[in-house]
């Protein structure tokens, strides 16, 4: 992912101009990803209001395949799968959002401090973060979820801690590359004050990376939550969650009830696609590189 040094991003150029100048593939990715994300946001906010049935109500016949009445079939307790999965967005994505926010803030603080001040602080943090970085974050998350106990906030915290080493590295290298640019000194020489420098010359680089990092973080977070749910460490039943429903559906896979496995996974796929497409498209749009000048 490109950060500062190859980017032509300048403060003052607004997003629309960048978008129009981007290659068609990037534009499509932003649009398509954006639409998917919008759908998800609608699910999150209006979920319970737009679904045909109560996700917790065991009103229907059990294990029905998809039909006109039950769009995605029913589960083994007679609940409408579609309603469950739509409402599940709240938990999967909500927790993810909190996790992304927390890890971003911590990563921002630690990473920029480390990059800006350098020295012993940097060395210590780097040593620490490098060690954590090479360890599979999902296993951290697993341990933390058990040690911290069940609950929304605890899960969010666990996932955010798993993401911190990555964010730290990203922000740190961005800070260093911004710091080393000559124009900071040049600006000081002509007497610009610190606030002006930060606003016009430093912040744009961070902002351009912000949206991409958030999108990517949401994707990874959603996947982690679904993974936790699948392993039985997610939100406790009967709360609907994509991973948990996938796990419970799995028991019926062998008897041919494919919809209990296919649809929960499909929701995860759509969420991931939405975030990944958006983040990739945004990355290309906001960091245009001059192609092939040799």
């Amino acid at each position: 992912m490109s950060g500062g040094s190859k980017s032509l991003f300048r403060s003052g150029i607004n997003f629309l101009e960048l978008f129009k100048a981007a290659p068609r593939s990037a534009q499509l990715m932003v649009i398509f990803g954006g639409i998917l994300d919008l759908i998800l946001v609608i699910f999150i906010i209006f979920g319970p209001n737009i679904v045909p049935y109560d996700p917790l109500a065991m009103d229907h016949e059990t294990l029905l395949p998809p039909s006109k009445t039950n769009f995605m079939g029913t589960d083994n307790l007679g609940r409408d799968l579609f309603s469950r999965l739509v409402v599940a967005s709240r938990y999967s994505l909500g927790i993810s959002l909190i996790a992304v926010g927390v890890s971003l803030v911590i990563g921002l603080v630690l990473g920029s401090a480390s990059g800006f001040f350098g020295g012993t602080l940097d060395r210590i943090l780097m040593l620490f973060m490098d060690a954590l970085y090479i360890f599979p974050s999902f296993i951290y998350v697993l341990i933390m979820v058990v040690v911290l106990g069940p609950g929304l906030w605890q899960t969010a915290l666990a996932i955010s801690i798993g993401r911190i080493p990555y964010n730290f590295r990203l922000i740190r290298s961005l800070t260093i590359s911004v710091k080393e640019r000559g124009f900071i000194e040049a600006e000081r020489v002509i007497g610009a004050d610190n606030w002006h420098i930060i606003r016009h010359h430093i912040a744009p680089y961070y902002i351009s990376i912000l949206f991409v990092t958030i999108s990517l973080g949401m994707a990874r977070g959603t996947l982690a939550i679904a993974g936790l749910g699948f392993l039985g460490l997610g939100v406790p039943p009967p709360t609907p969650e994509w991973g948990t429903d996938l796990a419970s559906g799995r028991a019926f896979l062998l008897s041919g009830r494919w919809w209990l496995v296919v649809f929960p996974g499909l929701f995860v796929l759509i969420a991931m696609l939405g975030f990944n497409l958006l983040s990739e498209g945004l990355d290309t749009v906001m960091n245009p590189t001059v192609r092939r000048l040799k």
Binding site: F138, I139, V261, V262, G265
Partner: protein, 335 residues
């Protein structure tokens, strides 16, 4: 000659890394706010019993004392006694470790075998149909949750088409003298080709799924590295020399692109290892991941700590090995 020094240097460097990881393992278990024992047991058992457990585990002693004991035990390869199984943790770990290693390495190999060539060809045939098609495919694969893909493959390839077994490591009546515990390796070493075929067929699906989830990352990275290098000046020099294009692509371009690829294999492995926990559950493989899950659900404190220590060890060893391979590949690495 000089490589020996680098190997030693790198091994020495691995120690503080391992140290930090182990300390953070310890930290997670002990120092987090909220008494872990209360969290894990408090709601199920009366306070007196909880205190007894705490005493037995030595968790009522001051933290730094526990930490020193932890390190002391580690140096003697003592990972404690499992609370549930009442046997040394290391014994349980030894049983399951080869399975995870086999699956992880198999998956990694498949990922490299599939991902890297795709990246190279995409770079060489930039903007061709192949390039666009694979980029779309990798974009999709990147977003596809691995465990969902695994289940779908189980369903289609295993159940509906009956091509491959869907769970476990071996069929009933499987005979093999175990040396390392890794079935593929052992069957080769004992010339037991029937066992080789059987274990490979059981290993195929889990390794394939693990591999394919790492393909997007590896192929994109390889493609980017190749494109980058193909624009470098020494490639122009090679073309000016009138060398055959095969030589230019592999001897000059790919050889240089291999360097960032080696680094990225490390990153892939990390993610892959995290994914083995879920994969082992889906394919009913008795590995470290399933041991970890058992320990987590039964709140086997010492077992959790022990298994995570082993994971840390695997990761550090792998990264050290990769760094050494990198040093072999890049003569500029100073030592």
């Amino acid at each position: 000659m000089k490589l020996r020094y680098y190997v030693i240097f790198r091994l020495l460097l691995a120690i503080p890394t391992l140290f930090i990881l182990l300390t953070s393992v310890f930290g997670i278990m002990h120092i987090l706010p909220g008494d872990p024992i209360v969290i894990m047991y408090g709601d199920q058992y009366p306070t007196a019993y909880v205190d007894e457990i705490r005493g037995k585990l030595g968790l009522d002693r001051p933290v730094w004392e526990q930490y020193l004991d932890f390190l002391k035990d580690l140096s003697r390869f003592n990972l404690g006694i499992s609370m549930i199984y009442k046997v040394p943790v290391i014994r349980k770990v030894q049983d399951v470790f080869p399975t995870t290693l086999e699956v992880a390495l198999g998956g990694l190999s498949l990922a490299v075998i599939m991902g890297v060539p795709i990246g190279v060809i995409s770079a060489l045939k930039r903007d061709s149909f192949f390039d666009h098609a694979t980029r779309l495919l990798t974009l999709y694969l990147h977003s596809n949750p691995g465990f969902w893909l695994a289940l779908l493959f189980q369903l289609v390839l295993g159940l509906w088409l009956g091509l491959v077994p869907i769970s476990g490591r071996s069929p009933p009546g499987f005979r093999l003298t175990e040396i390392t515990g890794m079935y593929v390796l052992d069957s080769i070493l004992t010339f037991n080709f029937k066992a080789l075929g059987q274990s490979l067929s059981y290993l195929f699906l889990p390794c394939f799924v693990i591999g394919i989830t790492s393909v997007p990352y590896l192929s994109r990275l390889t493609r980017a590295a190749m494109l980058n290098i193909l624009g470098d000046d020494y490639i122009t020099t090679a073309r000016a020399k009138g060398l055959p294009s095969r030589v230019i692509t592999y001897k000059h371009a790919f050889r240089n692109a291999m360097l960032p690829v080696i680094t990225s294999v490390g990153g892939s492995f990390t993610g892959l290892l995290g994914g083995t926990v879920i994969t082992e559950r889906i394919f009913a493989l008795p590995g470290l991941g399933s041991l970890l899950m058992e320990a987590l659900t039964s709140r086997d404190f010492t077992m959790i700590q022990g298994v995570v220590t082993i994971y840390a060890l695997i990761v550090v060893v792998m990264n050290t090995l990769l760094d050494i391979v990198y040093a072999l590949a890049d003569p500029r690495v100073k030592y």
